[in-house]
């Protein structure tokens, strides 16, 4: 266990180098897993590339959020589900989808008229940025707007966000002007919108939507908008985008001389739409079409923001973030639909097989596993029965008829200690070998019949996360609360969360200036951060004192003990986050009450 003092706040060189190496751009096209690069503006366009603050090529890999609203539940949740803009949702986009951007539509009229709406936008943007996500501000496509109103909105919005380097502006309502408008009109309209942004003082990249339905087919260099920092945004349709020739015509050709971002490409299975009708009806054919698109984007260095992060599109609900897939089939217009392309995007960004094994950090659900930390593999475990390792003995290397083999970046294979295996298509929990080398690795479930299923991961020194009461890395945090009278009198302890009939909740922690409150939080993935690790824990927006951190046992469990300051009194159930040497944890919930 490492006790933290004032002098122990540095970032270790090794950890920093590791972090940098993990953040290289994902060019795709091979089976090596990579984190998509975290948002690191300010950005500059250079030829057909977008360069971040360090001059590294940056590809946008994101999805669209719902149009921003003022509903409290969209951030705080409604008690059953997390909100669309909640930290739990945003961290899931970053960690579980391995994306690095969100597109956020804004209602321009509301923005102009309502300061609360503007404050909400600022809050969501800063929250997303804190979770390493670039935010592409866009206009709500459903709101009819005059060019003048639009320009005024962008001038104001750009002014408000000119100091946010991880914000882009998608100035034209998607999917773009109709093709019969013509390129000259398009050029003048886009030029006006770019100038509106620039007049607000913002220098970040501006996205310009092409014409519908042909994208940038026919655009010439002379018709491009005159600005150093523009990105061309295509919104291809499945009906007209089936082959590489289609892709080349609509945006591929342009991508050789300017940065291009593909937007949307949701098959709209929840609607009786032309897109759904054009989408291949066979899940296998549909999968191949989406995979061909993704491969093309990688090969041509095309950025993308695909589908939409909401039920019926990327996921089925905001509580468990079950990704949409095509496997169950669909009927166009049938709602609620479970059909969608999320599982394919996950597989692509994880260099995985949508029908294969995925290995994830047990506590934060991400692609990065910590040495000595807990991990879980999901998918074809195919154990014949569930088995939990017996307690009181060293964890076994074989459980049921399966073992887990971790082959590190040096090619050294080690069997992992196993905690639990489910049967069939299920999950298996294991401890990442502490001596595994850093970098890309393979996790393979190996069975007694000689078969195996493998997933690719990244191994790092730290990849922290909190245990939660529901064991799904979300919701009420697992921990022990200790309260002591300030005068050194009575003390009491209780659990920070409880579960009744399968429903877990954060237990209110009554804060007062008469008691000192510490919480020992159950965690994993931080034991190798070093005694000088920089551990930062925030409750709501308040950074709280970290009293100690380190291993809690020898099988992957760690602990972080924090003190809850009295200023959190009455804050209610709020978000709990942590970074260790800059690495993000999951977002859990803790309840700060009042005496």
């Amino acid at each position: 266990m490492f006790f933290r003092g004032k002098a122990l706040c540095g970032v270790t060189r090794v950890s920093l180098l590791t972090a940098v190496s993990l953040l290289q751009a994902n060019a795709g096209g091979d089976s090596t897993p990579r984190l998509t690069p975290a948002a690191a503006g300010p950005y500059q366009v250079d030829g057909n590339r977008i360069l971040d603050a360090r001059g590294r090529a940056y590809l946008v890999r994101g999805t669209e959020l719902p149009t921003l609203t003022l509903k409290d539940s969209d951030i705080a949740g409604d008690g059953k589900e997390f909100g669309a803009f909640s930290p739990s949702s945003l961290i899931s986009i970053r960690q579980r989808l391995n994306m690095n951007a969100v597109r956020l539509p804004v209602n321009p009229l509301e923005y102009q008229e309502d300061s609360a709406y503007r404050a909400r936008l600022l809050e969501v943007v800063e929250s997303a940025n804190a979770f390493e996500l670039l935010v592409i501000l866009a206009v709500d496509p459903d709101g009819p707007l005059s060019p003048q109103t639009l320009a005024q909105f962008w001038t104001r919005c750009a002014g408000d966000f000119k100091h946010h380097p991880n914000v882009f502006f998608a100035v034209a309502p998607a999917p773009g002007m109709r093709a019969d408008s013509g390129w000259s009109l398009w050029q003048s309209a886009m030029q006006a919108l770019v100038e509106a942004v620039r007049s607000g003082g913002a220098q970040q990249p501006v996205l310009l939507a092409g014409l519908q339905p042909d994208g940038f087919d026919g655009v010439t260099p002379s018709l491009q908008v005159h600005d150093r920092n523009v990105i061309y945004e295509a919104t291809p349709r499945y009906a007209t985008t089936r082959t590489d020739a289609d892709r080349w015509r609509q945006f591929g050709s342009l991508s050789t001389r300017a940065p291009v971002l593909v937007n949307d490409m949701d098959p709209q299975l929840d609607r009786n739409s032309a897109e759904c009708a054009a989408f291949p009806g066979d899940p296998g054919a549909a999968t191949r079409l989406v995979q061909e698109n993704l491969a093309y984007f990688d090969a041509h260095q095309v950025s993308w923001v695909l589908s939409s992060y909401r039920p019926g599109k990327m996921l089925t609900e905001y509580r468990y973030f079950n990704w949409s897939k095509l496997d169950d089939g669909w009927t166009c217009g049938e709602s609620p639909s479970r059909g969608g392309i999320a599982m394919m995007l996950v597989a692509h960004l994880w260099s995985g097989d949508p029908h294969g094994l995925f290995a994830v950090n047990h506590v934060n659900g991400g692609l990065v596993l910590a040495r000595g930390g807990l991990a879980t593999a999901y998918g074809p475990i195919l154990a014949e029965r569930e088995v939990t390792a017996p307690s009181g003995r060293p964890l076994p290397l074989v459980l049921g008829n399966v073992s887990v083999r971790v082959t590190d970046s040096k090619g050294i294979a080690r069997l992992a200690r196993l905690q639990y295996t489910g049967a069939g298509w299920s999950d298996i929990s294991f401890v990442v070998p502490a001596s595994a080398a850093l970098g890309p690795a393979e996790v393979a479930v190996v069975r007694s019949d000689g078969s195996k299923s493998a997933a690719r991961v990244i191994i790092a020194d730290v990849s922290p996360g909190f245990f939660t009461a529901s064991f799904d890395a979300r919701g009420a945090v697992s921990g022990e609360v200790m309260q002591r009278d300030v005068g050194g009198g009575q003390s009491k302890s209780f659990a920070a969360s409880e579960c009744v009939a399968g429903h877990c909740r954060a237990v209110p922690i009554p804060l007062s200036d008469r008691v000192t409150t510490t919480v020992r939080l159950a965690a994993s993935g931080l034991r190798n951060g070093g005694s000088h690790a920089k551990v930062r824990v925030t409750v709501g927006k308040i950074a709280v004192p970290v009293m100690s951190f380190g291993p809690a046992d020898d099988v992957g469990r760690d602990q972080v003990t924090i003190q809850l300051p009295v200023e959190l009194r009455g804050a209610g159930e709020t978000d709990l986050t942590m970074t260790v040497n800059g690495a993000l944890s999951n977002v859990a919930r803790i309840h700060c009450g009042a005496l």
Partner: protein, 374 residues
């Protein structure tokens, strides 16, 4: 017996042990349990194959083992209920003989038969119903007099003073049946062989459903393991397990919820909780073994999937009307599950990927008599 054993020992010493049969155990399969008193030899397997296909074993020369166990149908007969040599209908469907070497039970619901040798006596000599209707003396006369058998029996049971015995008939039949192994289906090539293209996308989706627990179909709970059956036996297994399940196929009115005479395990235990419990057969080559269930009352794989998705079969009219889902003895593993048309097709595609074309075309398992008659 002592004398016979001594003769056998002397023969083995004098001429060497009979050549053992090299059983081609599929990759990923365990070693099958072979009875100590009936080791596999090439000569016994060969003899067993001739016996298996010999219609003269039946009372009227019309039927052989192969009549109800046809190679092209993965050693089943395509009928809902088997037909005996005398035309009598068997109450149950012919069981698949593929991988029978691994069977933990040899009948649909009888836990008391412990070996293939023992089991072979039932179709030969059983009278209720008559299957082959073998007359003991006729059979002995045949194997003593037939020129083929006069060569094969002494070789298969070298050293025995009298190899022409019923017990040797069953040993030879059992030996042949143990060699009918199947583990080279497209799914095996995908799962064991690592050939990602061995099965279509639909089968891969179906595989997930098949193995999906926690509210999913969880078919593997009864049809799991290397042989897709929970009633298996092999060398390293600590003890033989014979599982029987009531799948909610019926729920007829009356004291016993299944139609007579197919009462399942109850027929042997007389425990009402065992009504309707039958063995979960291997799903290997299942696409070839329609119709399905112990009585062949389900015609297609799709309908079988429907049955399990519904958590039991509902029969609206007739003497067997009833809601099988509510059968009091139904196994809780048959819980039903939500299923789309796509899921159904994918599950069927997965089951079809378990078909091993090799075993149904393997000349080692084919009728040997045509070549003799030439």
């Amino acid at each position: 017996v002592r004398k016979a054993a001594r003769i056998a020992w002397l023969a083995a010493v004098a001429w060497g042990a009979p050549p053992a049969y090299q059983l081609a155990v599929p990759k990923g399969f365990p070693k099958p349990r072979i009875p100590l008193d009936n080791p596999l030899t090439a000569d016994k397997v060969r003899l067993g194959r001739y016996l298996f296909y010999d219609k003269r074993l039946s009372v009227n020369g019309t039927t052989s083992c192969a009549t109800c166990h046809r190679q092209e149908l993965a050693f089943t007969d395509g009928r809902a209920q088997a037909l005996g040599a005398t035309g009598q209908t068997h109450p149950r469907s012919s069981m698949c003989l593929v991988n029978v070497a691994y069977a933990g039970a040899f009948n649909w619901s009888n836990p008391a038969v412990h070996s293939l040798e023992e089991q072979a006596l039932k179709p030969m000599f059983g009278t209720d119903p008559v299957e082959l209707g073998v007359v003991r003396q006729d059979l002995l006369r045949l194997i003593r007099s037939d020129p083929v058998y006069r060569v094969l029996f002494p070789r298969a049971f070298a050293g025995e003073a009298n190899p022409y015995r019923i017990v040797n008939v069953t040993k030879a039949l059992a030996s042949f049946e143990r060699t009918i192994l199947s583990g080279a289906s497209p799914y095996d090539r995908f799962h064991i062989g690592g050939d990602a293209d061995a099965i279509p996308d639909a089968s891969r989706r179906g595989e997930i459903l098949f193995f999906l627990d926690y509210g999913g179909p969880a078919c593997f709970r009864c049809h799991g393991g290397f042989n897709f059956s929970d009633t298996v036996d092999y060398v390293a297994k600590p003890h033989r397990t014979a599982e029987f399940h009531n799948t909610g196929l019926y729920n007829v009115t009356g004291a016993l919820s299944y139609p007579m005479p197919n009462l399942g395990l109850y027929e042997h235990t007389k425990n009402p909780a065992d009504v309707g419990k039958f063995k979960a057969p291997t799903l290997r080559n299942i696409a070839l073994t329609a119709p399905y269930m112990h009585d062949g009352s389900i015609a297609t794989l799709g309908e079988a999937v429907d049955h399990y998705a519904a958590g039991g079969r509902t029969i609206a009219h007739g003497p067997w009307a009833g809601v099988g889902r509510d059968n009091p003895a139904k196994d809780s593993l048959v819980h039903g599950f939500p299923m789309t048309a796509q899921n159904r097709a994918d599950l069927v595609a997965f089951l079809e990927s378990l078909t091993d074309d090799g075993v149904v075309h393997d000349p080692r398992f084919a009728d040997p008599w045509p070549s003799v008659r030439k």
